[in-house]
C-alpha cells in the first residue's frame, strides 16, 4: 500500500476554557491519498475545523502526530511550519479571509511574494491563477467589489499560488447560496481531476459532500464516527 499524502495518527487537541477542559479532538486517525476529494462532515463543535488546522500546520496537536507525505510535522520549527503552510498546503475559509485593502491580484501576489516570486513573473503567475478560477477580468477589484463566490475563487487562487499538493477548505460554501456553492465545488472537483489536487473539504452539508466528494469522514464530539 502506498503512503497516504495526509495522515493523522491518534491526534488529540484540548483547550482550557476557564476551569473546564474542552476536548476538541480525541485520538483521531485519518488518511487521505493523493488526488482524493475527501469531505469532513460534522456539526459545529465536532472538531472538524480543529483537525483541518492541525493538518494545515496552523496549530499543533497535544498528542499524536500529523504526517505529510509520510513525514511527521511534529519536529518542525516555527519557521519550517511557515514554509510548510506556504508550499505544501493551501487553505480557504468560510469568510474568505482576503485582505480587504488589496485587489484580487494583490491578494494572490502577496502569497506569491511570501513564496519568493517577484516582478514580472509574479504578476504573470497571479494572472494565470485568476484566469484558472475564472476571474481574469476581475483581477483589479477589491474584495468589497466582488460577490461571495468570486471572493472565494480569489481565495482559491491565492491558496494554490505556491503550487501546494493539498487544498484544505474550511466550510468554503458556508457564505454562498446553493448555486454558487455548487459552482465552487465543481471547480474544485475539476482541479482534482485535471491537476491531481488533493482536497479536504470541511462541511456540514451532507448533500454537497455526497455529491462532490470521493469519500466522506463523519465526526462527532472530536471523534471519527464513520469513514466511507
Amino acid at each position: 500500500m502506498t503512503v497516504p499524502l495526509l495522515q493523522t495518527r491518534e491526534v488529540s487537541k484540548h483547550y482550557q476554557m476557564g476551569a473546564t477542559k474542552v476536548v476538541a479532538l480525541d485520538r483521531v486517525s485519518v488518511a487521505v491519498g493523493e488526488g482524493e476529494f475527501v469531505a469532513l462532515l460534522g456539526t459545529s463543535g465536532s472538531g472538524k475545523s480543529t483537525l483541518l488546522n492541525l493538518i494545515g500546520g496552523l496549530d499543533r496537536p497535544n498528542e499524536g502526530e500529523v504526517l505529510f507525505d509520510g513525514r511527521s510535522l511534529a519536529p518542525f520549527t516555527k519557521r519550517e511550519m511557515a514554509r510548510y503552510r506556504r508550499h505544501s498546503v493551501g487553505m480557504i475559509f468560510q469568510n474568505f479571509n482576503l485582505i480587504t485593502t488589496m485587489t484580487a491580484a494583490e491578494n494572490v501576489e502577496l502569497a506569491l511574494a511570501f513564496g519568493g516570486l517577484a516582478g514580472r513573473e509574479r504578476e504573470q503567475r497571479a494572472g494565470e491563477l485568476l484566469e484558472r478560477v475564472g476571474l481574469g477580468a476581475r483581477a483589479g477589484h477589491r474584495p468589497s467589489e466582488l460577490s461571495g463566490g468570486e471572493q472565494q475563487r480569489v481565495a482559491i487562487a491565492r491558496a494554490l499560488a505556491n503550487r501546494p499538493r493539498v487544498l484544505l477548505a474550511d466550510e468554503p460554501t458556508g457564505n454562498l447560496d446553493s448555486t454558487r456553492a455548487r459552482e465552487l465545488l465543481s471547480l474544485l472537483r475539476e482541479m482534482v481531476a485535471d491537476d491531481r489536487l488533493t482536497v479536504l473539504l470541511v462541511t456540514h452539508d451532507r448533500d454537497l459532500a455526497a455529491k462532490f466528494a470521493d469519500r466522506t469522514i463523519q465526526m462527532r464530539d472530536g471523534k471519527v464516527v464513520s469513514d466511507e
Binding site: 496552523l58 516555527k78 519557521r79 511557515a82
Partner: protein
C-alpha cells in the same frame, strides 16, 4: 519575501492609516527638529567662539623661550639669582616644581640652529623669532619713540592678513615696512592711502654705531652669518631712554645712515649688501642735513597699513592677535636683527662680553633669541609640538589648555541641549509604539491571514520594523529640514532685531554640519525601530487560529 516587498507592504500599511501615521510622524518631526535646533545652536556657539580665537591666532601659536644672555652670565658668575627663578637651573631635580615645564629654566639657547631644528618638527608651520626694538622713528616730519617689530616674510599670521591699504612686505630683503592704524594717527597721516609709498626712518646715534663698528665687525667675522642676537623689550627700552636727549626732531645723518646701511647689510647677508639702502636715503639726505653725522638712519618704504582696530568692538582699541608682542611698525626680520645687533644697549653689551670672557659663550657663538613664536599647522597638533619643544630643552607657553577647556564646556552644553531635544524624541517614540500597537489590534486578522499563507514570524516583525523605520525616517528628514528652517528664521530675526540695530554685521548663530542632521535622522530611525520592538514581537506572536476564527 524580498525586502522590496516588505517595503511596499509597509508603505501600503502606512497609507491605509494616513492620518495616524501622519500624526505619529509629526511627533518625530518635532522631536528631531528640537534636537537638531538645540544642538546646532550649541555647535554654532562653539564654532563662533573657537573661530574667534583661531582668527586671533591664539590656538595655533606657542611661544618658546631659551636661555638668555643674563641667564648665561649669572650661571657663569655663580649668581644664584637672589630669589629669581633661574637659581634652580642645574639642580632642578631637588626642587618641588622641577617637573612643571613653565617654571623650569630652559636648558638651551634659541640660536638660529635651534630655530631650524624647531622648524623641522612635524606640525610646525613656521618659527618667527621675536625681535622688537624701541627706537625713534621718523616719518612725515615727525620723530617719535616707537616699538618696531621684526616680521617673518612671508608671514602666515592673521595679524598680517587685513590691510586698510597696501600689502605685506614683499621679501625678507626688501626695505619695506608695514604700519598699523595707530601709526597713522601719531604720525599725522589722514588716510591709510597717504601713508603707503611714504618712507619712515629708524634713528640711532651715529656715534654709537661708529664706536661699535670695529668690535662688531670682529664679532661678525667670527660668527656664522645666520647667528644673531635679539634683545628683549625692557633692554630696548633702557636703550631708548638713554638716548632720549639725542632725539633731534627732523634730522637724518645721511652719510652715517649710509654707512650703517652698508655695514648692516654686510653683517646680515652678503648677498644683499648695498642694495639694501639705496636711493631713498641718498635722495632725501642730499640737501637738508643740519645735524649730519649725529644720527644714523635706515629708511624703509611703507607698503601696507594694517587694519587692526575693529569697529563696534567693545574694547574699541587694538585687537589682541597671536602670541607675538604687538608693534605699530614692522620691518623684515633680517633688518631688525641687524639693527638690534648694531645698537645693543650697554647692559646687554656688558652681559655679552662677560659671557664671552667667562667662556659660557664661545667665541663663535652669540646669545640666542629671547623668545620665538612657533606657529603650528593645526590646533590639534599643538600639544604634541609643545611637548617636543619642552623635550628639546626650551620653555614654552600656549593657551591650548583653554581650547581643551572650551571644548569640554561646549561638550557639556551640547549634551545638555541634545538631551532637552532628546526628551521630545522620547515622547515621540511613545507615540510610535502606541501607533504600532493600535495598528496590530486593527490588523490582527490580516496578520493571521499572512501567517496562514506562509509568512514567517521574522517577516511579520520585519514589516512592522520597516513601518516604524519609515516613520522615523520621514520624521527625521522633515525634522532636520524644519530645524534648518528654524535656524534660518532665527538668524534673520536675531539679525533684524538684535544685531542690525546695534550696527553689528550678520552672524550665523547656528552650525548645521552634515554629521548633525545625518546623525539626527539615523537616531530617529533607530529610536523608531526601538519603539517598534515590543509591537513587532507582539505581532509575530499572534495565533493564526484565533485571528482567523470567524466570529
Amino acid at each position: 519575501m524580498k525586502f522590496l516587498d516588505v517595503l511596499r507592504l509597509a508603505l501600503r500599511n502606512l497609507r491605509e492609516a494616513r492620518l495616524r501615521a501622519g500624526l505619529t510622524t509629526l511627533g518625530v518631526i518635532v522631536g528631531v527638529s528640537m534636537i537638531v535646533t538645540m544642538m546646532s545652536f550649541g555647535l554654532g556657539l562653539q564654532r563662533n567662539a573657537v573661530q574667534r580665537f583661531r582668527d586671533l591666532d591664539l590656538f595655533n601659536e606657542i611661544t618658546v623661550s631659551g636661555r638668555d644672555l643674563i641667564g648665561l652670565v649669572s650661571s657663569a658668575m655663580g649668581d644664584n639669582g637672589g630669589g629669581e627663578r633661574r637659581e634652580g637651573r642645574g639642580r632642578r631635580g631637588n626642587r618641588p616644581d622641577a617637573n612643571d615645564p613653565s617654571r623650569k629654566v630652559p636648558e638651551r639657547m634659541l640660536t638660529e640652529a635651534a630655530l631650524k631644528e624647531i622648524a623641522g618638527l612635524p606640525g610646525v608651520a613656521s618659527v618667527e623669532p621675536n625681535i622688537d626694538l624701541t627706537t625713534y622713528v621718523r616719518a612725515n616730519k615727525r620723530a617719535l619713540l616707537r616699538q618696531v617689530g621684526g616680521a617673518l616674510v612671508p608671514n602666515g599670521a592673521t595679524r598680517f592678513k587685513t590691510y586698510l591699504a597696501g600689502r605685506m612686505i614683499s621679501s625678507p630683503q626688501a626695505d619695506e615696512a608695514v604700519v598699523d592704524e595707530s601709526f597713522l594717527r601719531s604720525f599725522g597721516f589722514a588716510k591709510a592711502e597717504d601713508a603707503v609709498g611714504q618712507t619712515l626712518e629708524l634713528l640711532a646715534p651715529a656715534g654709537a654705531a661708529g664706536a661699535e663698528r670695529s668690535g662688531e665687525g670682529a664679532e661678525k667675522g667670527a660668527n656664522t652669518k645666520d647667528e644673531a642676537s635679539a634683545k628683549d623689550v625692557t633692554r630696548a627700552q633702557d636703550e631708548a631712554s638713554a638716548k632720549d636727549e639725542a632725539s633731534a626732531k627732523d634730522d637724518a645723518g645721511a652719510e652715517d645712515g649710509a654707512g650703517v646701511a652698508s655695514e648692516a647689510g654686510r653683517g646680515v647677508g652678503d648677498e644683499e649688501g648695498l642694495s639694501f639702502f639705496g636711493l631713498p636715503l641718498e635722495e632725501e639726505s642730499a640737501g637738508e642735513d643740519p645735524v649730519a653725522g649725529a644720527l644714523a638712519a635706515r629708511t624703509f618704504r611703507i607698503v601696507g597699513v594694517l587694519k587692526t582696530e575693529v569697529e563696534g568692538s567693545p574694547q574699541g582699541g587694538r585687537q589682541f592677535r597671536g602670541m607675538m608682542p604687538v608693534s605699530s611698525i614692522y620691518i623684515p626680520l633680517p633688518a631688525a636683527r641687524v639693527w638690534s645687533d648694531r645698537y645693543r644697549n650697554s647692559i646687554s653689551e656688558v652681559a655679552f662680553r662677560l659671557a664671552r670672557e667667562s667662556g659660557v659663550l664661545k667665541d663663535d657663538e652669540t646669545e640666542g633669541y629671547g623668545m620665538a613664536v612657533v606657529r603650528v599647522t593645526d590646533p590639534d597638533v599643538l600639544p604634541d609640538v609643545q611637548r617636543r619643544l619642552n623635550e628639546l630643552g626650551f620653555n614654552s607657553f600656549s593657551i591650548v589648555d583653554q581650547l581643551k577647556e572650551l571644548r569640554t564646556v561646549f561638550l557639556i552644553l551640547n549634551s545638555a541641549l541634545g538631551l532637552l531635544g532628546g526628551i521630545s524624541l522620547l515622547v515621540a517614540s511613545f507615540g510610535i509604539a502606541n501607533t504600532m500597537i493600535m495598528s496590530i489590534l486593527e490588523r490582527t486578522r490580516e496578520i493571521g491571514i499572512m501567517k496562514a499563507i506562509g509568512a514567517e514570524d521574522r517577516e511579520i516583525k520585519l514589516i512592522f520594523f520597516v513601518e516604524a523605520g519609515l516613520i522615523g525616517l520621514m520624521g527625521g528628514v522633515f525634522g532636520a529640514l524644519a530645524a534648518w528652517a528654524i535656524d534660518a528664521v532665527a538668524n534673520r530675526l536675531a539679525y533684524r532685531f538684535i544685531l542690525q540695530p546695534r550696527g553689528v554685521s550678520y552672524v550665523d548663530f547656528f552650525a548645521l554640519p552634515p554629521y548633525l542632521w545625518l546623525g539626527a535622522i539615523l537616531f530617529a530611525v533607530a529610536v523608531a525601530i526601538l519603539a517598534a520592538l515590543y509591537p513587532a514581537a507582539r505581532a509575530a506572536r499572534i495565533d493564526p487560529v484565533k485571528a482567523l476564527r470567524h466570529d
